[in-house]
């Protein structure tokens, strides 16, 4: 009996190690938002005139953002991965897990701004700029409520 229990324990250890730690999940979450930022930074640079507007590149970046909205983020917001549990590793505030509906509303606003952007991104700089502004506004609005300013 004891042998069986011990061997189960030995088997269980690698299994636990293979599962994602809270820190891994937070890291993946940060990675997901980095991808959004990567696309958004090009669009914002075009909107501000730092990078010359290019209809194809703008449309491609908008399309990538749209593709990323298909990604299911719910597992990135696993419990136990807030900045209270992982200080210095994430800025996700515990209030996220108290107000998932609120976070969902912010996400919905973001998705609709991405859709709007996709409708206009290839139609010239004048069409791009307000859509990028609106999209950035949805980033800010969620950061204000759900993300700590610093680690």
């Amino acid at each position: 009996m004891r042998k069986i229990l011990l061997s189960l324990l030995v088997l269980a250890v690698p299994a636990a190690a293979a599962a994602q730690s809270a820190e891994d999940i937070a890291g993946a979450r940060i990675g997901y938002y980095r991808l959004l930022g990567h696309e958004m930074s090009l669009l914002a640079a075009m909107a501000k005139g730092d990078v010359e507007y290019n209809a194809e590149k703008a449309a491609a970046a908008a399309k990538d953002l749209q593709t990323l909205t298909q990604y299911s983020v719910s597992d990135l917001f696993a419990p136990g991965t807030s900045n209270a549990e992982l200080p210095g590793k994430t800025r996700a505030l515990p209030v996220i897990w108290e107000d998932m509906a609120g976070l969902g509303d912010k996400g919905a606003a973001y998705v609709s701004a991405v859709e709007e952007l996709n409708g206009v991104a290839g139609n010239g700089l004048d069409a791009l700029r307000p859509a990028v502004g609106k999209l950035g506004g949805t980033c800010k609005s969620c950061h204000d409520d759900f993300r700590a300013k610093d680690f």
């Binding site: 930022g37 914002a44 609106k134 950035g136 506004g137 949805t138 980033c139 609005s141 950061h143 300013k149």
Partner: protein, 206 residues
Amino acid sequence: MSMVSETGRGRAIPQPSIAAEGVPVWDPVVRVLHWALVIAFAAAWGLGKFGPDQMTLHFWAGYAVAAIVVIRVIWGFVGSQTARFTSFVKGPRKVFGYAREMTSRRPSKTLGHNPMGALFIVGVLIVLAMQILSGLLADPEDYINVGPLAQYVSSDVARQALALHEPLSTLLLAMVAVHILSIVFYRLYKKEDLVTPMFTGRKKID
């Protein structure tokens, strides 16, 4: 309309306008900057807290505050007597001496900033400068409300600036409250009107 009127004694004396009553205390630059700061700070604070997510107007209000602070500091070296730092910034002995007289129920009769008020002026200019700098450096990672200087510093610094910007806004609001409460205290307790001179530039000395 003549500036001269007849008095009961039949003698013509210069009739000062309201603005000319009392002795000069605040020059026009100080007064304009003061009230411009009231407007610009209120706008920046309100837009920061309650304004739209696209913060362009907040940025402009912040630039206005920055311009006001820069001009006021320059004026603190080259302006009129009461505007100059060297005329109103005092050492601890003068500050404590003035603090002891604070509770006496009579006007201070100070022309310009009193030694304690001077501390406040320097303090508020420093905190405003910190707030301006933190705003210029802050990166909220929304790609549209990024401080114009954030691109020249590391992301760590840009994040620390962002983290400072909101607490500093609360500190500034508290300083505004202290400022207004002091003025109310002077008016009610010490019977000294500090508001009118900031409009007219002149202070009535009994």
